[in-house]
Symmetry: C2
Subunit: 259 residues, 2 copies
């Protein structure tokens, strides 16, 4: 049975790049992996998708055909995709990789925070094992308020999908070493993050309340990766295996699963 | 000094409709209110904006001019707007209403979860008093997982903006009475929501942990409104006054503030 890895995160967090790097990593380790592109509005992909939702719905065409603006076209495209879910699932089921990597739409909101996104995912994945990767733009979370915000957002996605989830801090190659050290410190000691939030703005929670919140928000595994250097992909694979297979490497009885 | 009300929420939560209803409500109570439309991609507005960001940047034009897809155009438009922030602020400062209602972009993600959105808001509002309204689609949160998810999302926006925030459950006229009663129960008793979450999916938190989380997530005022019947707008006004003016009605020394 294949494992499903759902790649989620806000626009610009690095979903598409990580999807490509992860397939390459798995293939380098003699594992078959197929990427499903679920974004009907993506213009360019750094990888060659095995299944491409744009074969079913293309957001730019939807815009032109129905005279919609960019917002309306994104939402209409997802709804139209939901109607074609059986064809899409059949195409996916025709492949037999060890891993499916599902690269979700650029705007997470159109997907994860509407009814259609979870319906599409559940329909594709069925009863198979799944993990979601929630990508956190590393460049943003050197700001402690943004880190708290991202952890809440990650938890919000988890509450809605109810999949086992791993937080992935991306773009670590672009973060100066001392800033990266601070992020590590925040994850190791939630109170240090609560302390660092002492910003000019107004927050409804006291530091102690934030620490309590963070303890619950940091229950997820967290992995830091760089798509450029490949650093962190070993840790990501290990974290995925813990979630998907209880720590064991992928094992298949079919000697040569065919894509 | 004017008060600033920032209307936030995911696509389809009712931001634009509430912005219009709220201006009408304030004007019916002899208060001047001006709406600033900050969405460069909106196609139709149910109100006549006092300031319209589309006079500065139009997402559809950005798409055509730069050959971008819908995703890219939304992001580029916000970044281009940030470059024109001084002109926009000057236009806004030329008005003298009691309240500014700031209607934010359809896709919250492009705005609140990138650097430009908070920069634009802080630049417009300066040192003035502000409150953000986080809109929660009432039809979605009859599902308890979606309610937990929405409360986490609201908290995520609050962590990033650090403005005093009120949660607003919208579309109450469309929710059957018994479902509405359940939502009330969830807000009154977080454990009843934790209990209701007993869904087929997998959640990382125990019920007790979810109750602890909810206690922190429910510190925000919550108001239920219907834009159709106007029900809840009195409560919303009262909640806004508590946040903006410590509970007092708007008072101005200028006898007739001119829009």
């Amino acid at each position: 049975m294949p494992y499903y890895i759902v790649v989620l995160g806000t626009a610009g967090s690095g979903k598409t790049t990580l999807s490509g790097s992860l397939r390459e990593y798995l293939e380098d380790h003699s594992l078959d992996a197929a990427i499903v592109n679920l974004d009907p509005a993506v213009e360019k992909l750094p990888y060659d998708p095995d299944v491409d939702v744009r074969d079913y719905v293309d957001a730019r065409e939807v815009m032109e055909k129905y005279g919609l603006g960019p917002n309306g076209a994104l939402i209409a495209s997802m709804d139209m995709l939901a109607l074609k879910i059986n064809d899409l699932r059949e195409e996916i089921e025709g492949l037999r990789p060890n891993y499916f990597i599902i690269d979700t739409p650029g705007q997470m909101e159109v997907f994860a925070f509407r009814e259609t996104g979870p319906i599409i995912l559940n329909s594709i994945i069925g009863e198979n094992r799944r993990a979601s990767l929630f990508l956190i733009d590393g460049l943003q979370v050197v700001n402690p308020n943004n880190l708290l915000s991202s952890l809440l957002l990650s938890a919000s996605v988890h509450a809605r999908l109810a999949y086992p989830q791993i937080n992935v801090v991306t773009k670590t190659d672009l973060i100066p070493g001392d800033e990266l050290g601070k992020i590590d410190e925040y994850f190791e000691d939630p109170y240090s993050l609560a302390e660092a939030l002492n910003s000019p703005g107004y927050l409804i929670w006291s530091k102690d309340e934030i620490e309590l919140l963070l303890e619950k928000l940091m229950l997820f595994d967290v992995v830091k990766v760089s798509n450029v250097s490949g650093e962190g992909l070993d840790e990501l694979y290990a974290a995925l295996q813990r979630v998907l297979a209880g720590g064991e490497d992928y094992y298949t009885e079919e000697p040569n699963p065919v894509l």
